[in-house]
């Protein structure tokens, strides 16, 4: 864009309209900085929870105000605030808040001195996620991605006295760096082909002959592959189980829900970069991802690892909407529908997954590994409420009705069915049967196996914060499953 004067350029970039749009990200960033300040001001540590709560609730509210009156594209079109981004933002803040609540009392003595840094993650991560979904510019997305990822790499290795944690951190960092490089290479090839990195300008170019050149296609492919790494799509999913298992569980929660959601929040709107001929490829990748995740999960005995694989399978399910969108010949209306389907699915997944990882965090209590199938045997006899909540989450992950997971699946399949992809939809549906195979194993162990005094007897009591967070997650799952209209109304 060219401007007549500096004043023009300035006006384009900074207007008062931009402030409410970027406010959520600003609040989160300021909160994260405050958290660092707390660490260096003597005697300020006690105010940690207040800062976390105030920041996240503030971000929730700031996003909420954008819901009814979104600012649209601001800052010279590199950032946009829409009802969808407002909902994403609210989900990120809510997810971070829930994960943070579960982290209270999770860490042992050794990690205590670094809790401010730990808490900072729960503020910088949603800030990065918000930037990712709001970005209308390939570089802006990258900034958000790194803002999210760099602290996550460190937090994965947070329990540095444990080998698996250090391994998780290193693995996550190396593969993340590789993904970032792939993404950047793709973005630079796109720039080479088109001369722009603005999403809106790229979109306007679609249909041009320029977009069928090898350079453009290679760029689009690499860019998308870089994001595929982040959402753990086959064949880029190998790192997931090790990293999820090794990281502290509250951090895993954030990785599993927020990172995936934010990457999809950007990927679906930019999937127009892919040619319509890629429909079959994307559908095949999605189905393979589901198969890899489900088959991997089927043989796990560690529930955390099982949930990691199940997360891979869920990413595959959501990826199906992109296949549907491409099959429609990149129809904008279908694109919006695909985005909304993914939003609903991920909203349900966020509550479900946060709840189940959170309960695992509670069972685990840093080191006391009760997160194996054996470890939860007969838990229902000792903690019926915990078992009931876990059961609800498992059923939601399996997509059984009256839970949010069911309507998520419904909306995803609707996108496919609309494009006449019945075969893909049926294959996808049958994958869920495999998935139920391992979700049911958790329920079997919780309720139907005899109580194992030696293992389950050591279960820590339910703390008040964890209890509240679990109740909120369960409520979210049920509301999405019984009154999906409330959420759909937000989308307008």
């Amino acid at each position: 864009m060219t401007f007549q004067s500096t004043q023009d350029a300035f006006d384009a970039a900074f207007s008062t309209a931009a402030l409410p749009a970027v406010l959520p990200a600003v609040i989160l960033s300021v909160g994260a900085l405050l958290m660092l300040l707390i660490e260096i001001v003597p005697g300020a540590r006690a105010s940690r929870p207040i800062v976390v709560l105030a920041t996240l609730v503030g971000a929730l509210f700031a996003n909420f105000t954008q819901l009814s009156d979104p600012a649209g594209p601001v800052l010279d079109g590199i950032y946009a605030s829409t009802p969808e981004t407002a909902i994403w933002g609210m989900l990120f803040a809510a997810g971070a808040l829930l994960a943070w609540v579960y982290s209270i009392g999770y860490y042992g003595e050794k990690a205590r001195p670094f809790l401010a840094e730990h808490d900072m993650l729960f503020l910088s991560a949603p800030a990065g996620m918000t930037l990712m979904v709001c970005s209308q510019d390939l570089l802006m997305f990258f900034v958000g991605l790194e803002l999210l990822s760099l602290p996550l790499y460190a937090r994965a290795a947070f329990r540095r006295e444990r080998h698996d944690s250090v391994e998780a951190g290193l693995k996550y960092f190396l593969l993340g760096a590789f993904a970032a490089a792939t993404y950047l290479f793709g973005a630079s090839l796109l720039y080479l082909a088109t001369g722009t990195i603005s999403v809106m300008e790229l979109k306007m170019m679609m249909g041009d002959t320029i977009t069928t050149t090898p350079v453009f296609l290679a760029g689009a492919g690499l860019l998308v592959a870089g994001i595929f790494f982040k959402i753990s799509v086959f064949p880029f999913h190998m790192w997931v189980p090790d990293v999820y298992e090794g990281s502290p569980t509250p951090v895993t929660t954030l990785m599993a829900t927020g990172t995936k959601a934010a990457a999809f929040g950007f990927l679906i709107p930019i999937s127009f970069l892919l040619p319509t001929e890629a429909t079959g490829l994307i559908a095949a990748i999605a189905l393979l991802t589901m198969a890899a995740g489900n088959l991997g999960a089927l043989v796990q005995t560690n529930i955390k690892r099982m949930l990691a694989y199940s997360g891979v399978a869920h990413a595959g399910t959501i990826l199906l909407v992109i296949a549907g969108y491409l099959a429609s010949g990149r129809d904008d209306a279908i694109g919006e529908q695909a985005l909304h389907a993914a939003l609903f699915y991920l909203a349900a997944y966020l509550f479900t997954s946060t709840g189940s990882f959170g309960l695992l965090a509670m069972l685990e209590r840093d080191g006391e590994d009760l997160t194996t199938m054996r470890g939860i045997r007969g838990l229902a006899r000792r903690r019926p409420a915990v078992a009931a909540a876990m059961t609800l989450f498992m059923l939601s992950l399996g997509g059984i009705p009256a839970t949010g997971g069911f309507f998520g699946k419904w909306f995803v399949f609707t996108v496919l069915v609309q494009e006449g992809m019945y075969g893909v939809a049926i294959l996808g549906a049958l994958m869920s049967v495999v998935a139920l195979g391992y979700y049911l194993r958790v329920i079997v162990n919780l309720w139907m196996e005899p109580l194992d005094e030696a293992d389950t007897g050591r279960v820590a009591p339910v703390t008040l914060p964890a209890g509240i967070a679990t109740a909120v997650c369960a409520l979210g799952v049920l509301v999405l499953g019984l009154m999906p209209g409330w959420f759909l109304d937000l989308l307008g």
């Binding site: 069911f406 609707t414 069915v417 194993r441 309720w447």
Partner: protein, 528 residues
């Protein structure tokens, strides 16, 4: 609150009350559960009596907006309703469910002694699920109830079942869910094509080739049929049933046989046939064959069993083969007979499972070889067992006869071959049930344990009396019950006949070409 909503959700309210009670108060929990189901039974019978069988219209309809499925249906979105209603196809099922539940609850006094509170919570949730399935008149609502009703049985078998319960319950769940998910895709496609989730309206639209093309009707028919066939179960999907029945606690078996399997046959009737009559006609032979094979195969399986409970479970496969065969005969007699037979099977097999449960509580074995001469020590038990067995065999004067007779009559009209094969099932049925009865009840008392058996007590007799009375009532005056079906079955038959005409016209149209005289083409097109 209107009666159908109350009927559906009262058990859920009961479940919540039980949930709030302390687990130690087992007596009070049992009473609350019994009271809830009794109230529901009274409500159910009242609804049943108020039903006008001559009308084909939905009765007692309740409708409230639920939410809107966005996008589909030309961008407007499709409103989904909380819609309940009852017609001739469901009225008997609702009555059966309402009557069975208190009996089942009463039967649990004998065999549920652990985790009592959880048990009754699931029991009551299950009743809501089952009634919801039969009463839902919205496709989305139906699907929600359909899958939700799986969960309680999963827990009932998994926690209170026999030695091999975990295998049985997971198998049951996965089998059923696999079918359901394929159906889910068909449901989504159907809602997308028709822009409606109202089951009444879908009946009109789903078979309209302008709205849903024949190819789409074809795969959707099979998707629906698959889900329900697994639930029934139709051969070759029957393997889960024997396991689930054998491992389930008595009350679970009774419910499974009495009501849950009927969800499958009910679904076949209302959705597979009701939505896609043309496809049902085209695949009539296939399903009649599956039914007939089920009858014979189930009977042969039953003959080979040494476990009395497994024997009755296999006899279920055989009896439900009758229902499927009669239904897919697609004749008025066959349809009426199969609906009645659903009730009959619920009553007689339910009774048999109750009786087997009672003797298992006393002897802790189900092997037929462990018994013999039980009639000497337990005459009352023997009486009830023989009545139930004869009802199951289809002795004239008892309920089973009427249903099987009508089904065979209807099947002969449609296909003499499969009808004939079906008849042999009656003979086989008599063989395995009579011989099992002989080995169980008669002969000398060879074992000491069997000499000391206590006969049935008042509770056990009392809970079976209503079922036996119903068996006799249906046996002597089936029209009291069949008349409830008149309106709905007539309407269904009219639709099937219309579909038949349409199919013949389509076939004729295939032969139309340029050489066909103009008037003939015009005639065919007008008729279409």
């Amino acid at each position: 609150m209107d009666s159908l909503t109350a009927l559906t959700f009262l058990p859920l309210v009961g479940a919540l009350i039980v949930l709030a009670m302390p687990a130690a108060k087992e007596k009070a929990i049992r009473l609350v559960a019994l009271a809830t189901t009794l109230v529901v039974a009274v409500l159910g019978i009242a609804t049943y009596l108020a039903f006008d069988g001559a009308s084909a219209a939905l009765q007692g309809t309740v409708e409230a907006a639920w939410f809107t499925l966005p996008y589909i249906g030309g961008g407007e979105g499709v409103p989904v309703h909380f819609r309940l209603g009852m017609d001739g196809l469901s009225v008997l099922m609702v009555g059966l469910t309402a009557v069975m539940m208190p009996i089942v609850i009463l039967s649990t006094y004998g065999h549920i002694h652990t985790r009592v509170k959880e048990f009754f919570v699931w029991m009551l949730v299950m009743e809501t699920g089952m009634l919801g399935v039969f009463l839902s008149m919205d496709l989305v609502l139906f699907y929600v109830f359909w899958e939700v009703s799986l969960v309680p049985l999963y827990f009932l078998v998994g926690i209170w079942g026999g030695a091999n319960r975990l295998y049985a319950t997971v198998k049951f769940f996965l089998y059923t869910v696999a079918g359901s998910l394929v159906m889910l895709v068909a449901i989504i496609a159907l809602v997308h094509m028709t822009g409606s989730t109202d089951i009444g309206r879908l009946m009109e639209m789903a078979s309209n080739t302008d709205i849903v093309s024949l190819e789409n009707q074809s795969w959707m028919f099979f998707a629906f049929a698959l889900a329900f066939a697994i639930k029934v179960p139709v051969i070759p999907f029957h393997t889960w049933l024997a396991d689930a029945h054998t491992e389930a606690p008595t009350s679970g078996s009774v419910l499974l046989a009495g009501v849950l399997l009927k969800m499958g046959t009910y679904g076949l009737l209302r959705f597979a046939i009701g939505f896609f009559p043309m496809m049902a006609l085209q695949n009539r032979e296939l399903f009649m064959a599956l039914g007939a094979i089920g009858i014979v195969y189930g009977a042969l399986l039953a003959m080979a069993q040494t476990d009395i409970k497994r024997l009755v479970a296999c006899s279920s496969v055989s009896h439900l083969g009758f229902v499927v065969m009669g239904m897919f005969a697609l004749t008025e007699t066959g349809l009426r007979g199969s609906v009645l037979q659903m009730v009959n099977h619920g009553l007689s097999t339910g009774l048999l499972f109750l009786l087997i449960g009672m003797i298992y509580e006393r002897r802790h074995t189900r092997a037929i070889a462990d018994f013999g001469g039980v009639a000497l020590s337990m005459p009352i038990f023997a009486f009830f067992f023989i009545v139930s067995m004869l009802s199951s065999v289809g002795l004239p004067g008892l309920n089973g006869f009427v249903g099987e007779f009508m089904i065979l009559l209807g099947s002969f009209e449609a296909s003499p071959l499969w009808g004939t094969i079906g008849v042999t099932g009656v003979i086989f049925g008599a063989i395995y049930l009579l011989s099992a009865t002989r080995r169980l009840l008669f002969g000398p008392l060879t074992r000491k344990e069997n000499e000391e058996l206590q006969d049935l007590n008042l509770r056990e007799v009392g809970l079976m009396v209503p079922l036996v009375l119903l068996c006799v009532w249906i046996g002597f005056k089936p029209n009291d019950f069949l008349s409830e079906l008149d309106g709905s079955i007539d309407a269904l038959v009219v639709r099937i006949e219309a579909a038949e005409t349409q199919l013949q016209l389509d076939e004729t149209a295939l032969f139309l070409d340029d050489s066909t005289p103009e008037p003939a083409v015009a005639l065919v097109e007008a008729a279409q």
